[in-house]
Amino acid sequence: MTEPIDTSIYSAVTAAIQTEAQRILAAGLVTAIVGYAASRRNGSTQPIIVTDAAAAEKLIFTPASVNNLALYLTKAKKEIPKKGKIGIVVKGCDLKAIVGLMGEAQLKRNDLYLIGVPCAGVLASTVQPSTALTADTIASKCTECDARLPSDCDYVPNVQLPTQPQLAGKYAVEIARLEALTPAERWAYWKEQFAKCIKCYACRQVCPFCFCEQCLCDRNKPQMVDTTPRPAGNTAWHIVRAMHLAGRCAGCAECERVCPMDIPLNLLNRKMAKELKELYDYEAGFEVNDKGPLTTYTDKDDQSFIK
C-alpha cells in the first residue's frame, strides 16, 4: 500500500507562517520564533531560531518538518535565551508536549506565541527527507494521530485539512503483537533491540520532558544505571527512561525518530500511555493538568495486583 497522502496545504501553511512570523517579529510581539528551515540535503529541514523579521522568509513547513521544537523552550536548552515572548511553530503532537511542560511548571502560556500547524502528517525517520508522503512513508505516530489541528494557539493558518486515508495504527498493532508473545519472547525481542544501543542519549536529548539539569543516569552517587553501552546498562536505561516518561510523555515520538540504531523506543512510551489510559483514564491532550496520573491517586485505584 503506497497510498499517497495529500500535503498540498503545506505550501499555504508555509506562506501563512512566514507572513505571521514577519508580522509578530516586526511588531515586537515576540523576541524570537522557533521554526523549521530548509537545509542542504534534498527536501530536508532543520530547526531555526529567527529573531529578525527579514529572516521570516526562511521559515517553512514540509513533510520533513519532523522535529518537536518544544525542546527549545525547555531549561535543557540553556543556549536559547528565554527572554520575552517566544513564538514557536507547533504541530498537534508538539503542542501536547508544550501543554505537558506547562503542567510541570516549565513553561508559561503567556511567555509563548503559538503558531499552530494544521498537519497532514510527517515523514518516517527511515526514509530520505525528499520522499513523498504516503501511507508507507508516514511516521508511525501520524497513523495514530488525534491532534491534526492544534487548539488554543495564538495563530493557526486558515487552511482546510484534507481528508486522510484510514491508516492502521502502527503502534497499536505492534503493541498487540508483542503483548501476545510470552515473556521470554518479549525479553528476546527487547534484548536484541537494546543490544544495538550505543548510549548516544539522542533519545534523551530530544525529549521535551527530559528537561532535568542532571539526569538520574548521569549521577554516580549512587550509580543507579550503568553508563556503559553494554546490554545490561542499555536495558536498564531504557526501562528507567520509559518509567520516567510514564504519565508525562506526549507522544511526539522524537526518541524513536532520532535513534541512530532504529530502536522502537516509542513503543515503550505508547504501551505505558495505553496502560495509564486503562488504569486511570489519563491521556496527554491539549488541556493543562495540574497533576499527572502518577503524581496523584484516588483511594479506589486498582489494586488487583496486590496481595
Partner: protein, 334 residues
C-alpha cells in the same frame, strides 16, 4: 599485487576463514539495522547499505573491559585483560570512507601512549575494502579529498565488476598474505569492466583554507549560529569513523567489579565537566566548536591529517539536521 576473485570464490574464502576460526566481520543486518558484525557465514554479509556504525569498532569497541578488581578483607586484587586473547580478524566489505579512517586513528593510538587494546586488534586484523557504488546526498567524501574508490586503509581492496566478481589489489603485507594463503581462489586480473563508482555528491573543499580560518577564529559568531540548535547528544561522534574519545568508568559493587572503556562524545555536557563543578565548555556552541576544531585543526596540527572521511553518517543521524559538510564549506568560503 593485482588479482581477480569471483563472487563464488569470495564466499568460499570467507567461509573457509570462518571455518578456520578466524573472526570475519562484515556488514550485516541486525534487527533491521546494517552494522559491521561478526558473521557466521559469507551469506550473512549484506553490503548493500552503508553500515549505521563505522568500522572503527573492530579496533575501538563501543565498550570493553580493561581491568577487573576484587576486594576481600582489607585486600584488593586487580586483574588485567590480556590482549593476547583478541581474536585474529578479517574485516571485509569495508567502505572506503571507513577504511580510510583507520590509518588516521593509528596516529592517535600510537602517539605518546601506545594503546595496546587498539594496536593489538589492529595487528590482528586484515581489512578488505570495497569500492563504493552507491551514495546519497549526505555523503561528502569527495569534499574532504577522498573518493568512492579510495584504497587508503585497506590491506586488500575490492572493486566490483560487471560479472559480479571483483578486481582485487593488495596494499600491504597482510593483504598479500591473505592472497598467498588462498592462492587457488584468486585469479589473474581480467578485462571485465568495473561497475561505475558512486557519483560524487560534493565539490572538493580547500581544507588548508578551512584550517587557517579555524586557526584565527576560536571565538566567532559562527559557533553560536550553528550550535544553538545542537541538542548535545553523542550520535554524531558515535557513528563517526574517526571520532575516538573514550571514557573510563568502574562498574560493579563494593566487592567486585570491572574497569571499562567506552565511547564518549564531546557533545555531552559531562564531557569536560570538572569534579569541581566548573565546565569550560558550558554551552553547546563551545562543545560543537570543539568537534569542528578537533577534526579540521587540532588533529591536523598534531598529526597532519583531517579527522573526517566524509561518510555522512553524522549528517544522517543528527536529530536537528546539523550538517558538517555545509559548515566546513561555509568556513572554506570565508
Amino acid at each position: 599485487m593485482q588479482k581477480y576473485i569471483s563472487q563464488q570464490n569470495l564466499t568460499t574464502l570467507l567461509d573457509t576463514l570462518i571455518k578456520q576460526g578466524t573472526r570475519v566481520v562484515a556488514p550485516h543486518m541486525n534487527a533491521g539495522v546494517p552494522l559491521y558484525e561478526p558473521i557466521q557465514s559469507a551469506a550473512d554479509m549484506a553490503t548493500g547499505q552503508l553500515p549505521r556504525r563505522s568500522a572503527k569498532e573492530a579496533f575501538f569497541p563501543v565498550c570493553e573491559d580493561i581491568m577487573s578488581y576484587e576486594k576481600e578483607g582489607q585486600r584488593i586484587s586487580l586483574k588485567d585483560i590480556d590482549p593476547a586473547r583478541f581474536p585474529e580478524t578479517v574485516l571485509v566489505g569495508v567502505r572506503p570512507c571507513d577504511a580510510a579512517a583507520i590509518p588516521v586513528l593509528d596516529e592517535v593510538f600510537s602517539w605518546d601512549y601506545k594503546d595496546e587494546f587498539f594496536l593489538e586488534r589492529r595487528k590482528k586484523t586484515t581489512i578488505i575494502g570495497l569500492a563504493c557504488t552507491a551514495a546519497d546526498d549526505a555523503c561528502f567524501c569527495t569534499a574532504v579529498g577522498l573518493f568512492p574508490g579510495e584504497t587508503k586503509g585497506s590491506d586488500l581492496f575490492l572493486t566490483p565488476l560487471e560479472d559480479g566478481g571483483y578486481a582485487c589489489e593488495s596494499y600491504s603485507d597482510k593483504g598479500e598474505t591473505l592472497i598467498n594463503g588462498n592462492k587457488e581462489l584468486f585469479a589473474e586480473p581480467t578485462k571485465t569492466k568495473a561497475l561505475s563508482l558512486a557519483e560524487p555528491q560534493t565539490e572538493k573543499i580547500d581544507l588548508k583554507k578551512v584550517k587557517s580560518w579555524l586557526d584565527e577564529h576560536f571565538e566567532d559568531p559562527l559557533w553560536d549560529g550553528i550550535a544553538t540548535r545542537c541538542v548535545g547528544c553523542g550520535a554524531c561522534a558515535f557513528v563517526c569513523p574517526a571520532c575516538h574519545c573514550f571514557d573510563i568508568v568502574d562498574e560493579g559493587t563494593e566487592k567486585a567489579g570491572k574497569r571499562r572503556k567506552s565511547w564518549d562524545a564531546c557533545g555531552f555536557w559531562k564531557f569536560t565537566h570538572h569534579a569541581s563543578g566548573h565546565n569550560p565548555r558550558d554551552l553547546q556552541p563551545k562543545r560543537y566548536r570543539n568537534r569542528i576544531m578537533h577534526k579540521f585543526k587540532y588533529y591536523d596540527d598534531k598529526f597532519g591529517q583531517t579527522l573526517c572521511t566524509g561518510c555522512g553518517r553524522c549528517v544522517r543521524v543528527c536529530p536537528v539536521g546539523i550538517d558538517i559538510a555545509s559548515i566546513v564549506e561555509e568556513i572554506s568560503k570565508k
